[in-house]
């Protein structure tokens, strides 16, 4: 969405890796160096790198749970309330007859559960997503990318580190 975005570029170093283990090494090294907010680009999630990063479990699950529960409540609430709002007798059954309403409750559980999950992902990616950082199409293809935001004086050593880890290409982005 480049054309939507008016954030100024972040200065830093962008390294590309062909080898997954190299990228993992780089990550470990960076963490060792105390780098926090660097970004790793992956075409597909890789266990090695995830291990190297070892992040907390995504909070998305909480949203799924809340959504699901809301849906369930809504399902039963709606059906029962609507039944008594205009009591109508059918087939000699109770005005509000729970067993059939389970279906509605269940469906809404799933529906809201799913929607809130997706909403959560969007939310987190938008909130926590870093802006103006460099990217290279290769990363969606067959290379792993690491971008380390760095102040001018930091650039050289970081480059060093990444090269040492086995980056095939390192270029630095100026603000």
């Amino acid at each position: 969405m480049a054309f939507l975005r008016k954030t100024r570029k972040v200065a830093g170093v962008l390294a590309s890796f062909i080898h997954v283990d190299a990228a993992a090494d780089a990550v470990t090294a960076l963490k060792a160096r105390g780098h926090k907010n660097f970004v790793v680009y992956m075409a597909a999630p890789s266990h090695e790198i995830e291990e190297a990063l070892d992040q907390r479990v995504s909070p998305v699950r909480l949203f799924t749970l809340i959504g699901g529960l809301t849906g369930c409540a809504a399902g039963f609430g709606m059906t029962i309330w609507m039944s008594y709002d205009w009591p109508t007798l059918v087939g000699g059954k109770p005005i509000a007859s729970i067993p059939p309403y389970v279906v509605i409750g269940f469906e809404l559980t799933i529906l809201l559960g799913a929607l809130s999950t997706v909403a959560a992902v969007a939310l987190f990616s938008v909130l926590m997503g870093k802006r103006g950082i460099a990217y290279d199409p290769k990363f969606s293809d067959d290379q792993i990318g690491i971008f380390v935001p760095a102040s001018p004086d930091q650039i050289a050593p970081t480059e060093q580190l990444l090269k040492a880890a086995g980056a095939v290409e390192v270029r630095h982005e100026v603000a």
Binding site: L4, T88, V118, A119, A122, L123, S125, V126
Partner: protein
């Protein structure tokens, strides 16, 4: 990702608005705007500004029912015994208007039309104001029986103040009937009206 968020937001907002709007439409507001506040019905020169459909004869309920206090049932003779209120026959009009020719000029001209209709044996074709779909049966007599002979205004508005009858409530909206039935704790079983 941001766009995704925007889209989702928009959808939710839209849904919310829709619900509010539909919900709002439930309450049928009852607004009768008084045309003449004195008992003496006003002389009306400009009829174009009046609300309600233009009738072939400018029959003024505000004069007949308002000023002269003629009870509704004098003309709408069957409302207490039948589901139909009864549109008065020209004969009924002529009962008085053989004698009464009208005070002012406008009245005179209108009354002439009545007499003409009578002599030509051509019934007047009134424009319908209140319409009820035919799959709903509304027994006028029961409502008059329960709510008294002057209950007409409940649905039709204060006709005695209308120079030209206009629709105050959409009596063809089921919600209008139901809210009243709920309020008065009388049956709202479907088959009371629909059969």
């Amino acid at each position: 990702m941001r766009t995704l968020a925007i889209v989702l937001g928009a959808v939710c907002a839209g849904g919310l608005v829709a619900v509010l709007v539909l919900g709002g439409s439930r309450s049928a507001a009852q607004t009768t705007k008084p045309v003449a506040d004195s008992v003496r019905a006003a002389v009306i020169t400009d009829t174009t500004s009046l609300s309600g459909p233009r009738q072939p004869i400018f029959f003024r309920h505000d004069i007949h029912a308002g000023q002269f206090k003629i009870p509704c049932q004098y003309c709408h003779y069957s409302v207490a015994v039948s589901s139909e209120p009864g549109i008065p026959s020209i004969q009924t009009c002529m009962g008085c208007h053989l004698a009464i020719a009208g005070s002012d000029s406008s009245a005179k001209t209108e009354i002439k039309k009545v007499r003409q209709a009578w002599s030509e044996k051509k019934p007047v074709e009134w424009v319908r104001v209140h319409y009820l779909a035919r799959h709903a049966h509304f027994p006028h007599m029961r409502h008059i029986k329960v709510m008294g002979p002057n209950a007409c205004a409940t649905c039709h508005g204060d006709v005695s103040r209308m120079p030209q009858v206009f629709r105050v409530n959409n009596v063809n909206h089921m919600g209008f009937c139901i809210s009243c039935h709920v309020e008065r704790k009388v049956s709202r079983d479907c088959s009371v009206c629909h059969y």
